[in-house]
Symmetry: C2
Subunit: 451 residues, 2 copies
């Protein structure tokens, strides 16, 4: 197969999206799309009462137009653009959403909310939403592939920067744009592509991710009316790849288009923390399952992992839940102590718990370049000299060891309880698994908002 | 004077903005602010009926909240965020707005509309608007200074990327944010900073510029409610300067703060085209003033200029008004033929005029590195062998030869007529010159919208 000329990737990509039929999407990709949506509603219902989301709702409500669109987990209704923004922020705010492995994009947060808001604006079937969603994720992650890893390394929050293109492509497909108008939509998206890694850890991150969903929906609607964009918004000399990429690989945008589906590289976090900590927590929970662990009788716990683990998460002193999400010490202490590693174990209150504080001081992180990034070894040394070790090769939530559908449902229920919206998770879970058979996709939103 | 440490430029900048008093702003800067606003309303009233602006109004109106804010030159009213977006797009769409010489930022389009929309939302005096405007422009252009020229060269549309910070600072000052909240506002702005040079020449440019005004206003309002941003949105390791600059000079953000006012480096275009063409048109209009020129009797017209002129504007074959804006051939032909170089002479219809088409074919562009960028020499050779030459050292509209207040008023009247809004220019011109004595700044908007 010849490498496509870099000069026409926008052309090829938009023709592909415009021509795509539901029948072209393999069953595996369809099912992964449902899993992504189950995970999205889980994290959005868990994050819908977060302070950043609350501030966005308060400020945007004052400027909101006709309340056509639902806000996941909340009583407020807003205009479609504002709802897309708020729901994207909610889905991503806990850092518990999905991860496209090759790029670390969180694909669903910017794309799904644009489509969901649209489904309350115009008649869309569940199948149409799923189809547009798969394509939006494909566009978003293919752009990410083209600029990775230099783009994120430089400081771009890739979920936002690529997300706006994915949302534009998804919304554009859902409203039936032809290839030239899809090109315009991507061009309008390119004018709005933004998001800095510096904002992570602050609420401003949510404005970036929310803006990507809103901006993508807006781009599709403007393109529909005839607003024009540049001919080559991805590959032009002053366009996305050249300006926001360093040494972009443009061929990655179109390589294997229609044959390889990016959504199949999507994964779901079992724990609400940095992915490097997943195997560490797996090991601790396994140790805890094998025997009750009395923290008073532990001398120390040694975590061995790839140097990346130490670089990202050797953080003994933490004072907030947000910091704890990237602390190996806290993750080990909490999971050994409580036998769980959910949002409750990474709350500000949990971080201040005296028992966990004492346990954190006993955790040591050691580096070993021979250990792969997706693995970790945890050894607990008791005061009486006994030791126990667990080695994890592939963490739960990795592509090699994905969360099962049942795991996702359990995560869903736990996050719904955490968010406190009071919605009943069961009908929504059921509806999401059968979304491809739903005539009116907006039913999903009615199940996701309190009565 | 010691160079400020790069590590605290956000701290210093936000303290400066928070502490600034109207009395600190020199009279020259205050007057330049008024000139910038006169020019802004001129270009916005000229651009308010442009197709890109119309599309934005149509789409955003469907999602607009309470119609608290005026749209310059149009009957529609919208929510403040949407109006800020549309008015910024209108001010910039004709490429006839102001230019901050060191950065080529068009400073007013993103900043003023955020403040104007705010003035219809909360009570603001003319003085408060002018003060916040001067500070917003200062923040915007200082960030631009720090990343220029590499930022624009890479492909960033600097008016949008820096404009969102200026709009956030201006709106934040106007609503009385303290330094920590101004820091949050700049952090939220940083999450939204976007805009690609690739979009210039298409309508998508307007979405970038409009988004900067909207995003800045939103940032200030979110910061007011308590939404947080990163500590160092300008100078942090994954923040604006590092990610969007190449070799940024962070000291430029704070050097001479409060002593040197960036608005004094602002200029206003006499002609609706690329600035490199200003001296060329000056020369042609002077030739035309000296003697009536019969195109049939011209053998050729030779333009000599810096190589930059040829690089940007040696464009003999043009078919649209937008292309004509960067064509030396069209600029020479039109100004010699019609003795004018306003928006009418750069319309699609003017470009297709057979007389101007014939005249364009006689224009030759020659390069001479000895000629400065701001200069040009035009020689007209008649069929009978007679020649006439005019040399321009500093074009009209440059810092050395600025438009007079009367020139700005003439531009204002011409653009109001072009836009066709039907508003009376005189009371608005009068009100803008006396803005510092106006108790309720929203009066300006009532004068700028049709009854």
């Amino acid at each position: 197969m010849s490498t496509p000329a870099a000069a026409d990737v926008t052309e090829r990509l938009t023709r592909f999206v415009a021509a795509s039929r539901w029948e072209d999407v393999p069953e595996k990709a369809r099912h992964e799309a449902k899993r992504s949506l189950v995970n999205f509603f889980a994290t959005a219902l868990g994050g819908c009462t977060d302070a950043a989301v609350g501030h966005l709702v308060t400020v945007l409500s004052a400027f909101s137009g006709p309340p056509s669109a639902s806000v996941v987990g909340r009583r407020e209704r807003m205009d479609a653009l504002s709802a897309a923004c708020v729901n994207a922020a909610a889905g991503n705010v806990l850092d518990f959403d999905d991860t496209h492995i090759p790029t670390v994009i969180h694909p669903t947060a910017p794309v799904a909310p644009a489509l969901l808001a649209l489904a309350e604006l115009r008649p869309l079937s569940g199948r149409e939403v799923l189809h547009a969603f798969v394509l939006g994720v494909d566009v978003e992650c293919r752009l990410g592939n083209a600029v990775s890893p230099a783009h994120y390394d430089r400081g771009w929050h890739i979920t936002s920067t690529c997300g706006v293109f994915g949302a534009a492509a998804a919304a554009g497909k859902a409203i039936g744009l032809d290839a030239p108008r899809l090109r315009a939509a991507l061009g309008i998206a390119s004018a709005q592509s933004s998001g800095l890694v510096e904002t992570l850890g602050s609420m401003a991150k949510s404005v970036g991710v929310g803006g990507a969903a809103r901006g993508g929906l807006l781009a599709a609607l403007l393109a529909e009316k005839g607003l024009t964009g540049p001919e080559r918004p991805i590959e032009g000399p002053r366009a996305f790849a050249a300006v926001m990429g360093d040494r972009p690989k443009l061929s990655a945008v179109t390589d294997g288009l229609g044959g390889r589906w990016e959504i199949l590289a999507n994964t779901y976090k079992p724990y609400p923390c940095g992915v490097v900590l997943n195997p560490v927590i797996d090991a601790c929970l396994e140790l805890r399952r094998r025997q009750a662990i009395d923290p008073a009788r532990i001398r120390r716990a040694v975590v061995r992992g790839n140097p990346l683990l130490a670089a990202r998460a050797d953080r003994p002193n933490v004072t907030t839940g947000r910091e704890a999400q990237v602390s190996a010490q806290h993750s080990v202490a909490a999971s050994l102590l409580w036998g769980e590693a959910g949002v409750a174990q990474f709350s500000d209150a949990a971080v201040r718990d005296p028992a966990v504080l004492a346990a954190r001081s006993k955790v040591v992180v050691e580096q070993d370049p021979a250990i792969p990034v997706e693995a970790a070894i945890v050894t607990v040394e008791r005061i009486d000299g006994a030791t126990a070790t667990v080695t994890i090769d592939h963490a739960k939530g990795s592509l090699a060891h994905p969360l099962s559908d049942a795991d996702l449902e359990a995560k869903f229920r736990a996050l719904v309880a955490h968010g406190g919206s009071g919605i009943d998770p069961e009908p929504l879970i059921e509806a999401l698994w059968s979304l491809d058979r739903m005539d009116d996709a907006s039913r999903i939103l009615r199940l996701a908002a309190p009565a």
